[in-house]
């Protein structure tokens, strides 16, 4: 499902948070959004996911979502947002229960997504007994279960340590290769952006405007850490962000 963000502007009270955002989100591509703290990345994601309405402009669906998608716009949160009183299995099941699927079908989906995220052995574990990386894999399994048309990921790896982050990035690339998905991926981490993004959108400091869009043609599977051309792009991104970040750091938060 192709999406188009069309002249989107937003104010929270008197503060302008996003200014005139125009962006195309083509099917099967991962769009990474980077920008200094407080520039409106999470806000933008909420508009795309329909959790909030922008003051001006709109987010357009250019086609119908696939018929088998149970929840076309699906979020993956930074803090996992797992129900602590439900097991891994129960957390995945939660998002299927309202769709009247019937138990055999639900069992099949749960088993399938837990296998794809290498969690089949932990179906009965409670979140408190899982490591951070596993928790985020549960959240990814939960998202897989509803067959999203667009993944909306708000710093999904930020709460994890560097090694776990690497592993999960590999997992995400693996999942994407198995079945290319559309994603808007917000991150602070430029290495993540160049590793996962087909297109990287750099926002300026608040009010967030699009400063630059960089397309990376290299296939995801070829992007090893330390690749020279990726490092160059990362450098370029860093130079773009640096001034903005510095300036943003000097401003009072209102």
């Amino acid at each position: 499902m192709d999406l188009k963000i069309d002249a989107l502007t937003h104010h929270y009270g008197p503060t302008e948070v996003l200014a005139d955002i125009n962006l195309e989100i083509p099917t099967g591509r991962i769009i990474c959004v980077v920008g200094p703290s407080g520039c409106g990345k999470s806000t933008l994601l909420r508009f795309v996911g329909g959790l909030e309405r922008p003051s001006e402009g709109q987010v357009l669906q250019l086609s119908e979502p696939p018929a088998d998608s149970l929840n076309p716009f699906t979020f993956v949160f930074q803090d996992f947002a797992l129900l602590p009183w439900r097991t891994v299995d129960g957390n995945v099941r939660l998002v299927l229960e309202d769709h009247g699927l019937g138990k055999p079908e639900m069992d099949r989906i749960v088993l399938d997504v837990l296998k794809r995220t290498k969690l089949a052995d932990f179906a009965d574990a409670l979140p408190k007994n899982l490591s951070g990386g596993m928790k985020q894999r549960v959240a990814i399994a939960r998202a897989l279960a509803v067959r999203p048309a667009v993944w909306l990921m708000d710093e999904p790896l930020s709460a994890l340590d560097a090694q776990t982050r690497e592993l999960l990035m590999d997992d995400l690339v693996g999942l994407w290769q198995l079945q290319p998905f559309t994603a808007v991926y917000v991150t602070h981490n430029l290495a993540e952006a160049v590793r996962l993004g087909h297109r990287i959108v750099v926002l300026s400091r608040r009010p967030g405007k699009i400063r630059k869009i960089i397309d990376i043609d290299m296939p995801l599977e070829d992007r090893a850490a330390g690749n020279a051309s990726l490092t160059k792009i990362e450098q370029e991104l860093w130079h773009l962000m640096r001034d903005e970040a510095e300036a943003a750091d000097q401003e009072l938060i209102t």
Partner: protein, 261 residues
Amino acid sequence: MSQPVPYRGGGFRPKRIRGLGLLVFIALLLIAEWGTRAGWITNLTLPRPSDVIRTLWDLAVSGMLWTHLGPSLGRLTVGAFFGAGVGVLVGVAIGLSSMMRAAMVPLVAALFPIPKIALLPLFVIWFGIDEMSKYALIAFGTFTPTVVATYGAVDNVDRTLIKMGQSFGLSRISIIRKIVLPGAMPGILSGLRISLAIAIILLTAAEMIGAEYGIGAYILQAGALYDLERLFAGVTILSVLGVTLSFVLGRVEGRVLRWRI
């Protein structure tokens, strides 16, 4: 110089020490027994613990214990069930709806500090001298603390979990049933502890007016006759009742809240 870095951690973390509570009880009883036997506590100040225990024993053997305890438990159950039940419902409604919050919170705040015992005559006029007024008193007394605890608990449910539910398109009912209620359960249960203690206090008060049988009536009769053994026997029964309820609630918490820690 070579010495270990001074240790400054530790403390502030309740540990489970088995049996110490019981030991304090027994020590106090032994001191009282010793004092009353030795004579430096007069019989008018405190009855002998052994006499109180004998009174309790007689009460149990004669079957009168059940005659008094039965109606008391009935009143407690019915009153607390309705009070706490409606309290949880209203508390959840306040937690979920701004309209209910605006409408009910001031009312609850106004009702909370009223000493319910003072309203007993009014309840007798409204509901009659029979069981109904006792149910009503206990229900009313447990209602307000339950409401306050419940809406506080609902307010404290992690908002990101609710946002998650919405983002997956869960129905409102599902969000309430599967996210809000389980999330509020720890707060609701600890509120219930307070409510049940209040229920026992009010039970006794209600039974002191117009009840033939019941622990409260038993204590009142004993008090009127200055029969300290029976008075203390009655009080002991209430204490045991309180401890038992608290124990049961602890077990329920352990079960329902296994997902914590």
